[in-house]
């Protein structure tokens, strides 16, 4: 079984964050309480909000407000200011027209 993989301090560090494991865990089909009538609804975003699976691609994913309406537990948005993040991006790209 995969669970037989060494989990001790000498085990290689998996290249995934704790957050990624949480997101994958949240994606597992429900095993208690039966299946929803339309399984798309368990295909939820990591915020556990409403399904966003087979939607029109040319429209942005839902903001946190819609996720919260869907009963989600998304953590409050606490990101950087747009300008600061964009300057970091530009800095990462280096000089050039990109």
């Amino acid at each position: 079984m995969a669970g037989a993989e060494p989990e001790g301090p000498d085990a290689p560090q998996p290249a995934a964050s704790r957050s990624a494991y949480v997101r994958l865990l949240a994606m597992q089909p429900r095993t208690e309480g039966g299946w929803p009538a339309y399984p798309d609804f368990w295909v939820e975003g990591p915020g556990n909000g409403p399904g966003w699976h087979e939607r029109f691609g040319d429209s942005g994913p839902p903001g946190a407000r819609r996720v919260a309406q869907g009963g989600g537990a998304r953590r409050p948005r606490g990101g950087s200011r747009i300008t600061d993040a964009f300057l970091r991006l530009r800095s990462a790209l280096g000089p050039g027209p990109a």
């Binding site: 995934a16 957050s19 994913p61 839902p62 948005r77 606490g78 747009i82 970091r88």
Partner: protein
């Protein structure tokens, strides 16, 4: 076949736009000021209400699209809301409104109408590449970034779309980092439709190039500490997790009962997602015809036949089919219908290889039993919560 709990109506309210993004599939029409009228849109909403009245609990999810939909008079959207209150609420039909905007203009009145009418806002921003320009050819982005900050300062959350093109593909990791930094969800959207012959020769990517970019996004998604929505990786990963779970209900998309997206063109023409704006596959005119009548039209029948055939040819034998419903093949645009150059047979150019990659990554992380190909839920839980 279970009816999905929502119907998205992508309403091309007008093609008129204040930008001239070079890859935009509406490019030839971006100077056209033709727009839906209030009586037309009232009729559309009434027809939607009549159709959904016997589909209890199904949400009408209006996606206001263009062109630039926020260039419409603000009174128009207030009339939209009134029509929804008049035709949908008495019938108990849940509904929502989202708008996909370039955010090049953002006035106080725009913000007021967003608060009043729209449950969700999508913003188109590429961050790199310089393909989003004004009519005069100037870069739109500095103003758009300032307006994104203003929306956040106003407490209005939103998601973003970044077009995956030849200009942005080399910078996927940096783009992900930006959205992670600002805490906004986003979709990386490959160029998927062409406005005029030859338009996408400079912008479009091959299936393999799209896969490479989405693999990079997957790597970032796995390494990230952020919980932002990252499409399409979230959706593909969910398909993989379902397939590896090995238990539970399978689902197969079929547009006859389960169509989730209708594109409504400015003249009222209705199309399936992948078939817009093919006149031979036009379902009908929502300004004059009921949706139930359109579902009986020969052109809808042909769209249905072609969609089913695409799924049969593309998805049969795929190990993810049943977890991945076949939606991507069923509703693909002509630009997304890849064919093997030797055999001429259709194949799943992006979704399947990216899902395979996600499975490989989960396997390398030790989460998948290498013999029975099942996810180890106990190990996943330990790593997530331990």
């Amino acid at each position: 076949m279970t009816t999905p709990p929502y119907l998205q109506l992508v309403v091309k309210v007008s093609k008129f736009c204040n930008l001239r993004c070079r890859y935009c599939y509406e490019y030839p029409s971006l100077g056209d000021r033709t727009a839906m009228t209030v009586p037309q849109v009232r009729t559309m909403i009434r027809h939607v209400g009549e159709w959904l009245a016997d589909q209890p609990g199904r949400t009408a999810d209006f996606v206001w699209h263009g062109g630039e939909p926020l260039l419409m008079p603000h009174a128009f959207y207030r009339e939209v809301k009134r029509a929804q209150q008049e035709f949908l609420e008495p019938a108990g039909i849940p509904y929502g409104n989202s708008v996909q905007t370039n955010l090049y203009r953002l006035t106080d009145e725009d913000i007021a109408v967003i608060r009043e009418v729209f449950d969700d806002v999508g913003v188109s921003v590429d961050l790199v590449g310089g393909q989003r320009v004004t009519v005069a050819g100037r870069q739109a982005q500095p103003r758009v970034l300032a307006h994104m900050q203003r929306l956040l300062d106003e407490g209005l959350d939103f998601g973003c779309i970044t077009v995956l093109s030849r200009s942005t593909a080399p910078h996927v990791a940096e783009i992900h980092r930006f959205f992670e930094d600002v805490g906004l969800g986003f979709r990386l959207l490959p160029v998927y439709r062409t406005g005029y012959p030859g338009q996408q020769a400079r912008h479009g990517l091959t299936a393999q190039e799209i896969v490479t970019a989405l693999k990079t996004l997957t790597d970032r998604w796995l390494a990230s500490d952020s919980s932002i929505t990252v499409e399409p990786v979230d959706s593909y990963a969910a398909n993989v997790v379902h397939a590896l779970h090995g238990a539970g209900e399978q689902r197969f998309y079929d547009k006859e009962q389960g169509e989730t997206i209708l594109v409504v063109d400015t003249d009222g023409s209705v199309y399936s997602n992948g078939d817009a704006y093919d006149p031979a596959l036009r379902h009908g005119d929502i300004f004059t015809e009921s949706l139930s009548a359109m579902r009986r039209s020969p052109s809808f029948g042909e769209a249905l036949r072609q969609s089913r055939e695409r799924v049969r040819q593309t998805c049969t034998g795929c190990r993810y089919f049943g977890s991945c419903s076949g939606f991507f093949a069923a509703e693909s645009t002509p630009e997304q219908r890849w064919r093997d150059p030797v055999s001429g047979l259709p194949y799943c150019g992006v979704v399947r290889p990216v899902q395979q990659y996600i499975e490989e990554r989960l396997t390398a992380l030790g989460l998948v039993d290498r013999v029975n190909r099942r996810l180890d839920p106990a190990l996943l839980e330990r790593r997530a919560l331990g």
